[in-house]
Amino acid sequence: MRITLLLFTLFAFSLPANAGMFSTIDDRANQISAQLEGNNSYHAHLARELANVAVEEKGQHDVTAALEFIRMAEDHAAQAGGSK
């Protein structure tokens, strides 16, 4: 049973890494930054701030929080309407 649990745990933790989640947060944050270049609206600033929080949370290994913040950042980036 221990071996099964160990294998399952390894498998469960390998999924996010395999899916590229750990690098994707940075990529998505960079994409937001590029997409909003020169845009100084409220939603653009908020998108950048939330993306920074996502990267910070990812750095602290809280992937759930990082994903939540990057989704919020993307929502606000969409409302900001792109680069200006």
């Binding site: 649990l5 100084n40 409220y42 600033h45 701030e49 929080v53 929080a65 994903l67 913040f69």
Partner: protein, 218 residues
Amino acid sequence: MIKRMIVATAALSLAACAGGHSNIDIDELSEARAAVAASKAAGAERCAPKLQAQAVASLYWAAHEIQEGGHATEETELTERAISKANAARTQAKVNCAPKAAPKVVEIIKLSGVNFANNSADLTPESIAILDGAVATLKRRADIKVEVAAHTSSRGAAAYNLSLSRSRAASVMDYLVSHGIAADRLTSKGYGETQLIADESTRAGEAQNRRVELRVMN
């Protein structure tokens, strides 16, 4: 047994992924929430967007840390940051959104002798020398901004006179711009027959009312 554990672990993992940690409607954030709402009401999203965004992001981050628990220092720092950024946003919004005072006329430069063909905005040849003098004045006094104001006499319909005066003001402005005066220093406005300065019982009086001025604005 193993199957049950696997199902339970998977269910817990899914629940953790689905659950958001950024609910800001919690008692610990009441002060920060109020500060952000006040800055938003003051127009900070439009007039202080960066500070307002920092306040809101800090609020959400603080909410996450509080609900996660175990980060007392971070929770306090983020909550205080949200409040201070919101207060700064509100102050900046008051400054940036304050209505600007309308410019006032501080001096009138009369362009006596600037005339147009009858019922037209075409400058007469005699007007050119006077306008060249105005160009020289505006180049010498490079810090002033002026409104080119044109007036008509009251002969004819008021609406026609207003339209004619607008065209004449625009014509003079075009001349000044085409001779090197920056367009952002100039505006043009036609006043029609609304600002008569002479009795129109004589032709001389009518001629006096047909005039162009440069109004120096502060």
